[in-house]
Subunit: 227 residues, 2 copies
DNA sequence: CCGTCCTCGATTATCGATAATCGAGGAAGC
DNA sequence: GCTTCCTCGATTATCGATAATCGAGGACGG
C-alpha cells in the first residue's frame, strides 16, 4: 500500500503479522537463510493461512525474505556480492537526498540530526555496536525525510534489508568513533544549506565505508570478483 | 521472489494473473484511478479470491496499483508531483548505470543499443509515439542490464510505473527526433568505454527531459488531469 | 430544509478444508 | 554399489464460505 500508515486504520491481521515477523527477523530470531513455514506461523498466532501468506508476500516485496513456488519462504541471505552492488546505488541516492534536503532543511531537523550524532557517541562510549548502527541508519533516514521526496524515501527504504545486512558482515575494522564522526561533515554541510556540498558529503560518506568494506575484504578470498 | 522467472516454474495462478492484469493496466484497459474489484477478476478468470488478492499485492509492490484496507485496489494515478520527484532519482540511477556499464560493455550490447536507436528512428518516421517510448525504455534497460548490478536493475525497474506514466503526461512538446537523437551521445560514450562520460551523458539525458517537462508545465498549472 | 443516525448492498478480510507439489528416503533393477 | 523410480509426510496453492467493514442513500428529529 505504500502505507507507512502514518494515519489510522489499524488492525488488519496481515499488517500486524508483517510487523511481528519483521521484528523477529530483525531481532535475528529468524536467522538469515532460515525457512518461515506458513503453518507454524498460523498456529503461533492463531490465524488462518491467508493473512500469513500475504504478510510474507509483503516482506518479500521489502526484500527481507525470498520465496519460490511450492517451496515456501526463507529469510533472505544477502551475499557479499549483493552488498557490494548496494554501495554505488546507495551512494547515488544519498547524494540526491543531501542535495534535496540542504536547501529546505529546518533548524528542527538539524537538531534531530545533532541528537542522533550524540546518541551515536553515547553508544560508542558503551561500545554498543547495535545502537550505533541504529542511530546511524536513523540519521540517514532523517535526511531522506527532510529531502521531501516520497519516491526517493521509498526507494531508499527498499534497501533496508541490505543496509541491515551490513551488521552481519561488518567485522569491525573501522573504529566506531570513526563511523560516528564521519557524520559531522554532513551535518555541517546541511547547516550551511549548501546542496552541492551536502550531496558530496553524503556520497563520500557512503563510498568511504563501501571502499573500506571491500578493500578490507580483498585479502580473505572474495568470490566471484573480477578486478 | 526476485523471480524475473528467467528460469522455469510456470503455472502458478497468482503469477499468471499478475501478468494478465499488468498487461491490461499497461494497455489502458484499466485506466489510472480505476478500481480493480477482486470478485470481478475472480469471475472473469474463473479462479478463487486468494490468488487474485496475491496478484494484486504483487502489483502493489510494483507500484502499479495502490490499496487501502477494506477499500480495495485501484490503478495508481501518478501525479505530476510524483513524476517530478522521479527525475532526480532516475537521473542518479542512470548515472550509476552508465558508469558501471561503460567498462564492461560488450560489442554485442553496443549493437543492441544501436538497434534500439534505429528502431526509434523508424518509429519517428511513422510518427508512432508509443513505439518510440517503448524502444526508449528498452534502450535504458539494456544499459542497466549491462551494468551487471542486479540491485541497481531491480531498483530501476521499480520505477516502471512512473516511467510509463510519462506517456500520459508527455504532451509532445519535444520533437520525437530530439528524443531519439539524444541517445546517441550515450552510445558513443559507451563505445569509448568511458565510465565518467557515460555516466554524465546518462544523467544529462534524464535531467534534460526532466527540465523540459517541468519548465514546459509551469505555465498551465494543471492539477493532474489531462483535459 | 439540514444534519445525524441507521440500514443495506457491495466489497474486502479471514477462515477452514481440499488439491497440488516438493523432497527425502526406501525399494527395485542393473 | 549405484542409479532410478516410487511412496509418503510436509508444505504450499487454491478453493468455497463466512465475518467484518465501508459508503451511499433514506428515515428521522430539529
Amino acid at each position: 500500500m505504500a502505507d507507512g500508515t502514518g494515519g489510522l486504520a489499524r488492525a488488519v491481521l496481515r499488517e500486524q503479522l508483517r510487523e511481528r515477523l519483521l521484528a523477529r527477523i530483525l531481532d535475528g530470531e529468524f536467522a538469515p537463510g532460515e525457512r518461515i513455514v506458513e503453518s507454524h506461523v498460523m498456529k503461533e498466532y492463531g490465524v488462518s493461512q491467508a493473512p500469513v501468506r500475504e504478510a510474507l508476500r509483503d516482506l518479500e516485496a521489502m526484500r527481507f525474505v525470498e520465496s519460490f513456488p511450492h517451496r515456501g519462504v526463507r529469510v533472505r541471505l544477502i551475499s557479499e556480492r549483493e552488498l557490494a552492488e548496494m554501495y554505488p546505488v546507495r551512494a547515488a541516492l544519498e547524494e540526491v537526498a543531501g542535495r534535496a534536503a540542504a536547501p529546505v532543511v529546518t533548524d528542527d531537523v538539524l537538531a534531530l540530526l545533532e541528537d542522533e550524532i550524540e546518541a551515536m557517541r553515547a553508544a560508542t562510549r558503551d561500545d554498543d555496536v547495535h545502537a550505533v548502527l541504529v542511530h546511524d541508519a536513523r540519521f540517514h533516514e532523517i535526511v531522506f525525510e527532510a529531502a521531501d521526496n516520497a519516491l526517493l524515501l521509498e526507494v531508499w527504504r527498499s534497501l533496508h534489508a541490505e543496509i541491515r545486512a551490513l551488521v552481519t558482515y561488518t567485522r569491525v575494522r573501522v573504529g566506531l568513533a570513526d563511523i560516528v564522526e564521519s557524520h559531522v561533515p554532513i551535518l555541517q554541510a546541511l547547516r550551511q544549506r549548501d546542496p552541492a556540498l551536502a550531496g558530496k558529503e553524503m556520497r563520500h560518506h557512503i563510498e568511504h565505508f563501501g571502499a573500506l568494506a571491500f578493500t578490507a575484504r580483498e585479502e580473505d578470498e572474495s568470490p566471484a570478483r573480477p578486478d
